[in-house]
Each structure stands twice: as structure tokens, then as C-alpha cells.
Symmetry: D2
Subunit: 312 residues, 4 copies
């Protein structure tokens, strides 16, 4: 496998020292830059993607493209998967020629997909039945952070597996949080952190609408928020889109928000935890769909709050 | 009036140059350090407090203590008031020997109290009827920030008045946000920013409880939050109290939270703005009162979320 | 005092036997027919109304009109008051020449006004301080029911007072419910029963909107509801207005709904009882105000539910 | 097929005249008495049940028991199915030897099961693909009403099919409501009417708890409700269980309530209709599960309202 020259600043010694054979399945907006980070760190990379062309540049840099998830698993010590949803994750893992069909007893499947807890349990239990190692490692951050190796990684699984994985996971970002022993704990943490985005948007929307109704420019309120105690990225990034009414930013659509919130609420259902804030957000997003905004950025829920308030 | 020596680092030139006669009424946990900041900046200070002894140290540093709010107003160019609630604010301003009774046409009353919008309108309209200048300048921050001159100031009123006040307001903190021309806009901004505290607590409480139910230590979720996109002071300060179940921190009690949320909801009522998140928080705080936690720190609402989830 | 001939069907023996001197203050849409019922039952009636002309027909039938509430109280054994809100109730009772100024130690003030619990306490405590008898007797029903003597009466106060009042209260309707010893219990019951109207409207609105979105005529759903287990007057009366989009029926406006819901929520606040359904209704009604429907019948909240659902 | 003598009062002429061959699949608490009503009306009945013994008495009265759903469908003009949930409905209909495998082009499958809209669509579309007639006919009422022929029937499907079915459906109850042309409209109506049960319980629970907190016996409030405008069966039946704290009535458990509310909310999700009242009920029922009450009657949610209010 021909190696391309990794940039000096990325090739930390401890990662150099332990060069591994790693697979990556799912080269989408997040998966592709994550896979590339592994390559940049000097690892041997085997990839699979339904649309093979998306792997072209990685292959040019030395990755090997194979024809099935099973073929990836067969070749490597660690196989990452980063799929879009429950169905594609299930198919890629346990379908015909799926990861499970090729995974050796020494290898680990690390699923990074944002899936429902029901699916997370299917992954955990399906691998356990086969005597295979499985870890859930969910990430926080958007594609540019994935490219820069600045994702936040939430991993859960057995201590041994996490110990082995830690240096590799650090290719994605310097912070690797060990959430617990049970892989689904990482999935739930991911759903929770995503919920905080939507919930903060609703929170700011109520504040913006009320102050706007009283004649105050929401941008001034945004200045106060982010200039005082509400200056986290979640406030700054989404608040800015909101006060600029920038609803068509190439971000995540209302439908994705609904999917996320539904998975979070279903988790509440599994554990008997009432989540009134999540219900409010769900209703806002449903209302946004009915208003024709299904494909706009989910910050557009501000418009529902504004309309209910008689603005515009 | 005998001057005490202001520390060099506090006596900024522009404040030195414009030494004013300033009054301060209401020397409580916030008012006292704010008054002292004015004294430290070299201003002539006239004070009034119902319990006169609270002014002793300020008087020792050169402040003049007088016997009524009217007497304060009579003496100064600017009179600040920082009272506990609507009733004390109304009495101090428009009661017998109140501020309005002494305020000259050249002076400005600057009310810093967190009051309802109904009270804020009474202040604005009552001064307007008397041809008096009035500004609302609400602050964000706790007593230590007041002592350190690190409050955030939200001021609203006429441009002329704000221009005159700006250097003085900067004694309280470097950030003076001009919210609008109408004083009540500052009051609403203050209620809004306070609401964000309670709302963020509810948001984190739902997340902590759900993850705890799934076996994850809330402290780990707190680490992920504050280590990633939820690292604002509101997350760090309140989240820490929550995961440590530190409900008896000498902070603000549930009853204060209820008062604040009620004022915010009443503002929504005034402007016809539905505020579902505020309603959820109100219900939590009411439940905390019924659970016997009225006097504990308002982060104790986590315990209501935990109980509804069957924890403990 | 000249007696007019009571219709035979109204003059029940037990009421005939105990002819009393009764006062009635507040001859509005509800008060007027209630006062007339007393007259029809053969009682001596003394009345007061701010707009005296509203008493003309009662005077023609034998009632005596006097010039102040105190003058009414002075004359009678029982004085009813039926005012519009807290302020008018307070003024009529404890203001200059108010009921309390004329009420003898043997007489009872029976307040029928729908007031807040705070006002209800002021009535109870104000009379208690003066050593006066006081009962709260709230009624359910609209003006036609008042005319027909078909109101439902919820009374609370001392057993002795209620025993004395019972035959008189039955002039308003055959059902007199004794809610408790403390007058405010009747006020709370009244607020509660009113809340059930608004809450049932929201409940039906969600059902109508969802089925309409699925292509089903809400009138068919209304038929099923009222033809099966949801056939109470609250379903039939308000459901019919809803499915016919009859928002300008000369009923009660959105603003009255808001007032009622606010009083109910404030009662929840007093007792530490979370009321999430009430909060939802409040938000709907606020939204109706913002949509310009403040003066339409409160069933118009269906339009808010429909708009949020993308209907029309 | 031997006929047993139908009681005179049940054998209405028009049903006598049109004796049909009818199948019934699913002889549970509801299905069994419904099947028997068909037999009583003189129809030829073919039945299937997973546990065959449940058909013993029907067979003794003349019904024919066969070994698969397909065998039922093969024999009859109309085949009813009344299964417990989505999965059993799907299996019974489209599984191996399911209804669809035996249904002739002249016969109609009438599904009475309470299923999700997703399942309702699978039924409709699955039959349509096979060119088979399909109607959804959902019923309201408990087993005793099924025995007495007093169910309320909500049917949806093609006009022709409904015309043919109407006399047969009247065996279940005198009221057959035609909800629409699309079978899923009946399913949605059923989910909606069920939601009104849960929602009315929450509504009454808030009222009972608040009045109890104020010292009023909830039984008195129940008397006022059911003695005035809230006297529908939904108020009387569930309200009585609530005020008597009769949570172990052999009714429907919390888990069933959760299933129903989830299906209703999912329907809202399908159509973009916010359903805040449903969310509140869901949270209450989840809380009941966490309190260990999963298997008690769903009116036990009153205890959650009481606990949040600090009662007991």
C-alpha cells in the first residue's frame, strides 16, 4: 500500500508508532474527512462506499477500495462505519456481505452513526451474539471540524477496546470522552447533545420574538447574550443564523431535526423519562414542516415562534 | 465631602475628568458593591438605605448618608436605585419622600431593579408625567462581579441620557449595551436573560436525568457539554451545581426563580407571545416548592426531573 | 314594597314560606336575571347598579332601587353581588359606601363574582376582620340558564350560613353544591370548571385539526364524539361552534378566556400545583390575541391550531 | 352449518334477510363478543384464533373453526380481524397463510384492530396491490358493550363496500359512522377518540389535584363536574375511578395508554400537526411507568399529578 506523505503537524509520534490497518465505510460529508484523517496519520486504510467514486481521492492517496463492507472488515483491525440512518447502518452491518460477515474475532467494529437507541441495541446485541467486538463512537461537529481533526468523540464500550482505540480516535479530535461500558451510552449522549442544539434554538427563539415584539432588535439581544453568559458556540452559531434570518445556510434541515428529536424522545420513552422541552421542539419542527419549510435549516423554527407571536 | 483615595487601577482618566454627584438607593448584595464602585471611581456619593448601618463603610470612605430617597435625589445629578421588587421600587420612587419628590429637572433617575414590565411602565410613565428624566439600567452578574466591576449593563432610555450616563455605567462593567429608547426594553431584556438561566437548567436537567437513567454519570455528560459546544458560563456554573447536587449554594432560591419566570411570562402576556419553555420551567419550580425546596437554590429543579423519572 | 305576582311554577312552597329581604348588586347579563329570579320567588328585593336604568324593569316589578351598595346592605338579610372583575368587586365591597359599610352583624354577603383567589381572600379576610358573615356562591351557566333558574351553584362558607342560604340559592338553580367551609374553595371550583371549558376546546381542536389534515371532515368527528362518549354540554356546545367556525357567536371573547386561565394558573401558583394543560391553553389564547382575534369567541383558538398545522 | 337459535330481540328483520358467510379472526376480549353478535344475528360464522380453545363456545353454537386466517378468508364474503397490535395484524393479514392469501376478489377484509397509521397504510396498500377489497372499521367501547351490541363503529373505505357492510356492522352497535373513503381515516378517528380519554383524564387530574391542595374533596368536584356540563361517559367513568383512587380496576394499563398516545403523536408527525396536549399525557404516562405503575389502570396518572403537587 503506497503511503502518501502525511503533513508533519498531523503525524504525532504515538500514532506513527502504532500503524494499524483500518477500514472506513460510509464516505459522506462526515465520513470522508474522518477517513482522510486516518490516512493522514499514517494508517493503512481500506474503504467501502456505495457510490465508489467518492473514494477516488482517498485511493489516490493510498487507500484501498473494496467491494463490500465484509471485504473491508476482513482486511482490518478496526472498522469504522458512518452511515446516514438506522436502516443503512443495519444493512451495512448485518446485511448480506455486511461488516459482521467479515469481522474477525480480533477486530473491532466502531460505529459512528447517529442512530436510534433501538438500532444501537441491535448493533450491540447482534455483535455480541456473534462474539464480535463492538464500540460506539459518536462525534460532535460539522464537516469542517472533521477535516481539521477538531471533532469531539464520545465513545462507549469495553475498557480494553477503548484502550486500543483511543490513539486512533484522537485522529478525529483531541477530546475523546469515555461515556461508559455499554455502547448505547455513547449513542444516547450523542442524541442528548444534539437535543441541546434544538432546545437552545427554541429558547433563543422565544427570547428573540418577545423582545422583537417589544421593539427591540433581536441582534442587540444576541449581542448581550453572546457578550455575557451565553457565549457558547451553540449560542453564537445558531443565534447568528437566527437574527440574520439565514434559514438557507447549507446546514441541517428541519427533517433532520425532527429525526433527531424523535430519537431523543424515543429514548425518553425507553427509560421512562418525561422530556417536556423535547416535545415543544418537536411541535415547532412539525409546524415548520406544515409551513413548507421542511428542507430549510432547522433554525427556521424561529419563524414559527414569530408567527405565533403575530410578527410579520 | 471628604474623598477617600481611589485605587490607581480603578480611577480611569475619563472618569476622573468628569466627577459627578451621584446618589445610590438600596445597598443590598448588589447595590452596595455597585455604590462602592462609584465611590472608587472618584464620584461624590450620596446614599440612602432603609437599614442605615449598611452604609457605614461607604460613609467611612466619604459617602454622605441622608434620610430619605428624596434627599438623595435633591443632592445629585444621577440617582441610582436598586431595590428588591416592584413594591419597594414603587415606594422608593413615588412614595412619600421618594426619589420623584426630590429629582430636579436636570437629574436622571436610573433604576437598576429587576421589576415586572407593569412596574417598569409605572416608573417610565410616572417620571414622564412629572417631566423627569428616567433610564432603566439592568445588570447581569452576581455580587462578586459587582465588586469587581464586571457586570454587564443593559440600558434603555433617551440617547441624551444614555450619552451622559455611559461613563458612569462603565464603573459597573466594561460592557454597556444600549437596548433601546424605551426604558422598559432594558427591563424586558433583563427578564429574558434571566429566563435563559432557568431554561438552560431545565434543558440540562432533562439530559442529565435521561443519561443517568441509562447508567451514565451526569458528570461525564457535563464534561462533554462544557468540553464541546456548551461551554458558556450558564452551562459551567449551573451545570456544575447540578451534577454535584449542590442545592444549598448561597445562590438564588426557587422562590426568586418563580418570581422571575412569572415576570417573564407576564411580559409574554402583555405582548401576546406564547412561551412554552417558560411554562415548563414554571411548573418545575412550583413542583419544587411543593416538594419543600422553596428556599433551596433553583438548580434543585433537577430533583423534580429526577423524581418524575423514577430516580432515587 | 309592592309585590308582583310570581308565576305559579316558580313559587315553590318552601321559598314562599320564608320571604326574606334580599339585596342584589350588579345587574349585568348574569346578575339581572338572577335578581329577577329572587323577585319571582316572592322575596323583597333591594338593588343597586352603577347604571341605574338597568334596574327599571325590576323596580316596575316591585324592587327598590337605592343609591349605594352600603344602602343595599343596610336594608337586607342577604346581599348578593355579581361584579365583573377583581377591581369592581373590591370597590363594591370595601370601597366608600361599599357593602361592608352597611352590612349588619346578622346579614350575609354572598359574592357570586368570578374573581382571582387573591381577591377571594381579600373578601373573606376583609369581612372576617369586620366580624361580618361572608359566603362565596359561584354559578355555572350562561344568561339564558340564569333566566330559567337552571344555573349550577357552588357555595362555600360556614355551615350555618349555607343552611340559611340554601333555599334562596335554589332560586338560581336546583343544584346547590357545598364545596367547603372556606369561601375561596368555591372560587377555586369556579375557576376550575371554567378551565375545563378552555381545556376541552384545545383538546377538540387538536383532534379536529389532525383529522382535517388527513382529509376527514371535522363535522364527522364531531358526530362521533357527541354520538359516543363525549356528549357532555361542553363537547356539544363548543364543539359545534368550532366545526362551524362560528367564532363570532355572542359568547365570551378570547380576552375573557385569558383572564380566566390566568386566574386558574395563579391559583396553581398559590398552591404549588403544576398545570401544563393550562399553560398550553394560555399560549393558544395569547397567539389568538396576536392574530387579531382578541374580541372573537374563545373557540377561535381552533384557528391557531389549524394554522400551526398548515391548514388554509 | 347448524344454526343456534338467535334471541328474538337481536334478530332484526333486515339482518335475517341477508344471511352471509362471515369470518372472524382474533377472538380476544373484544373480538369474541363481536363474533358472537354475528352468530346471534343468524350469520354463518367461520373463525380462527391462535389459541383455538377460545372458539369452543362459538363452535358449540354453530361456528366453524378453521386452521389459518387464509382458510377463513377462503370461505367467506366478509372477514373481520381484531388483533392486538401492528405486528399481529400484519402477520395475520399478509403473513404465510394470512387473510390476503385466501381472500377472493368478491370478499372484503374488515380490520377492526387499533393500529398505527403506518400499519393502517400497509393494510390499505397491501390489499390494493392485490386487487382486494379492504375496509377499516374501528370500534369504541369495552367488552360489556361489545356483548350488548352497543359499540360505536367508525368505518372508512369505498362507498360500495360500506353499503354492503352496513347491516353487518350494525350487529356491533346501532351507530355506524362513515368517516371517509380512505380506510386510514377510520384508524385516525379511533386514535383520536382514544386520545380524548387520556386527555380528559389529565384535565381532570389537574383540577382534582389543585382543589385537593386547597382542601376541597375531589369527590365534591367530581359531583359538580358530572352534575353540570361535564357529564359525558368519559367524565363519569374515568372521573369516578380517579376520585376513588381505583387504579387496579380491570381496565387498560398505563402501557396501553402509552401505545395509544404514541400512535396518536406519530399520526401528528405524519401530518405535521403539533399536539401539545398529547405530549403532556405522554410525559405523565412515562412518569407513571417510572413510578412502577406500568401495569395499573392508566387513570393512575392522577398520582403523578398529585405527587408533583406535593400531595401525600
Amino acid at each position: 500500500m503506497k503511503r502518501h506523505g502525511a503533513p508533519a503537524d498531523l503525524a504525532q509520534p504515538q500514532q506513527r508508532d502504532i500503524i494499524m490497518k483500518i477500514g472506513f465505510i460510509g464516505l459522506g460529508a462526515m465520513g470522508h474527512p474522518m477517513a482522510r484523517r486516518l490516512l493522514d496519520a499514517g494508517h493503512h486504510l481500506v474503504v467501502y462506499n456505495r457510490t465508489a467514486a467518492k473514494a477516488d481521492d482517498l485511493v489516490a492517496m493510498g487507500a484501498v477500495l473494496v467491494e463490500t463492507p465484509a471485504a473491508v472488515a476482513w482486511e482490518v483491525d478496526i472498522v469504522f462505519s458512518m452511515m446516514f440512518d438506522d436502516a443503512t447502518t443495519q444493512e451495512t452491518t448485518f446485511g448480506k456481505d455486511g461488516i459482521a460477515a467479515g469481522l474477525s474475532s480480533k477486530a473491532i467494529h466502531v460505529c459512528c452513526s447517529t442512530v436510534s437507541l433501538a438500532q444501537a441495541r441491535r448493533l450491540r446485541d447482534g455483535h455480541a451474539e456473534r462474539g464480535q467486538s463492538y464500540v460506539s463512537a459518536n462525534v460532535l461537529g460539522r464537516p469542517p471540524a472533521a477535516e481539521a481533526g477538531e471533532l469531539f468523540v464520545m465513545a462507549a464500550g469495553s475498557r480494553n477496546a477503548l484502550d486500543r482505540l483511543e490513539p486512533v480516535l484522537k485522529c478525529f479530535g483531541p477530546h475523546v470522552f469515555r461515556i461508559g461500558d455499554d455502547p448505547i451510552q455513547a449513542n444516547l449522549a450523542k442524541l442528548s447533545l444534539n437535543f441541546m442544539i434544538y432546545s437552545t434554538i427554541e429558547q433563543m427563539a422565544e427570547v428573540f420574538a418577545l423582545n422583537e415584539k417589544a421593539g427591540t432588535d433581536p441582534r442587540m439581544i444576541f449581542e448581550v447574550m453572546t457578550g455575557s453568559f451565553y457565549n457558547a458556540p451553540v449560542h453564537k452559531n445558531y443565534g447568528k443564523l437566527m437574527v440574520e434570518h439565514d434559514y438557507d445556510y447549507p446546514g441541517a434541515p428541519v427533517t433532520l431535526g425532527l429525526k433527531d428529536v424523535k430519537m431523543f424522545m424515543d429514548a425518553g420513552g425507553d427509560y421512562g423519562v418525561p422530556l417536556p422541552y423535547a416535545s415543544v421542539v418537536r411541535d415547532r419542527l412539525l409546524s415548520a414542516v406544515s409551513a413548507g419549510d421542511a428542507d430549510r435549516d432547522f433554525v427556521v423554527l424561529l419563524e414559527r415562534v414569530r408567527q405565533e407571536s403575530g410578527l410579520k
